[in-house]
Symmetry: C2
Subunit: 309 residues, 2 copies
Amino acid sequence: MDAKVTAGPAAKALLDDLFANGLLFPSGVDGLYGRSGTFEEVIERFEAAVSKLGDVDNAERIHFPPGMARATLEKSGYLKSFPQLAGCVHSFMGGEAEHAQLLAKITAGDDWSELQDATDVCLTPAACYPLYPTVAARGALPEEGKLFDLKSYCFRHEPSQDPARMQLFRMREYVRIGTPEQVQSFRRSWLERGQGLINSLGLPCHVDLANDPFFGRAGKMLANNQRDSGLKFELLIPITSEEKPTACLSFNYHQDHFGSLWKLQFADGTPAHSGCVGFGLERVAIALFKHHGPDPKRWPAAVRKVLWG
Amino acid sequence: MDAKVTAGPAAKALLDDLFANGLLFPSGVDGLYGRSGTFEEVIERFEAAVSKLGDVDNAERIHFPPGMARATLEKSGYLKSFPQLAGCVHSFMGGEAEHAQLLAKITAGDDWSELQDATDVCLTPAACYPLYPTVAARGALPEEGKLFDLKSYCFRHEPSQDPARMQLFRMREYVRIGTPEQVQSFRRSWLERGQGLINSLGLPCHVDLANDPFFGRAGKMLANNQRDSGLKFELLIPITSEEKPTACLSFNYHQDHFGSLWKLQFADGTPAHSGCVGFGLERVAIALFKHHGPDPKRWPAAVRKVLWG
């Protein structure tokens, strides 16, 4: 049984509003919800607005399923930094006798998880994790580097009643792989585009330096280093709190972390740098519903124009 | 480590072709692949063609993430019928000492799965499983019943080198909940529409009675009963074998199985019947690439017209 992350009263009230307005549907598990057709349409229209900004750069689109190879996640270092958030898929691999045990345990309400074994599949924690080995398999990078357009469901094990903190959510990402200059110039352009887009949607926002929630005491040092080196910026929108606004976009510079790890390199053997801009699609949709109301038909005309043209 | 389901040489050759043409990308795990932008566009255009047929019926669209509540999957009976295909999400819930053990095991290449515990999340095995409790929570069904439009990533633990048998794949579904007559009339209409659509795409197909791969010896009886009662039809397209064509659409009549289980009922207390038509989106896309070639720009004009208008 999961430990519950506590959400403040404003977050719980927003979740109840989203349920009451038929935009989200409860599943019995915190952070796991059905979405209405209206909710989906807002996500689709926001994505189209993102694409309109990004299309000029001719990114290569690749789509990955919500699961990735366990070996890739192990090698990526994710389990070193965020073991508490990762999810791995276990399946029943027994015969008829073990199946009888499994059914008896379910009937009795007992834990049957030990009758499952780990598969080779883990859930994807961020859209770009499966990308790096895929690109490395192609051989040396061209001089101009590469740009990718990704979208994936992501899993993070942090059950919460804050609707802006789901366990399964979608992340749209552009990922730039190239020289330090190419990656930093990409990040600068999206810092500007991202703020422009969110402002055009009538949402208050600001950009700040940030750090990831690295695990444990050693993680504090990693977090400080990430912040001091300016590797992560977030675009924050107040959703249920002015003091603790919600990160809806993030702008990350990985230096040569993934380039060295996966031997992503230029023809002369120099490891590539990488960076990404990520859009938390459910978070942006929820920010729009919170600030403009549950019915998109009644949103301000300027906002509707950006989304519906 | 996963046991491998053997795929025939024609299936392996098709997978290699899809890799060589840059339509799918390997992940190191059988049944888990990246998809190219072209592959995604074919899926999107096929879905649009499905919507065009289905839109006349005014279905309510609901979107569920690729995971569902474990309690719902347990209650659904799925683990009784298909325990071997289900996937449950396990996560690390320990402290710093356990984390050190986890990292040591990964470094040594040892199994670290026992350092994880079962979460409340399972992977969705078919798009409609999370729907029934969601609809039941709304109270009595209206006399005319309900129609839903769903799409979800689904997981089935059956690693294989047959590209038409992925572990993570997308299923589009229409689900009809109502009287036996309403559900059977819905199914009849989609049996006709489905064949018409696949024919219009220049793909050979036929419809046949079918049964699900129920587990174990007792499962044989369930399979025979499902077949004898005409509860499941499949639309089959030859992809890598003429003798064993691939089920790309399925047309299912659940009788009152889900209605009774979830107390989905009309105002007078009669349990609802349900049925669904499911479209295996990756399978249809692969059938199109197999029959018409890797470049959609060179597909027959009539096929392009159905998909691109």
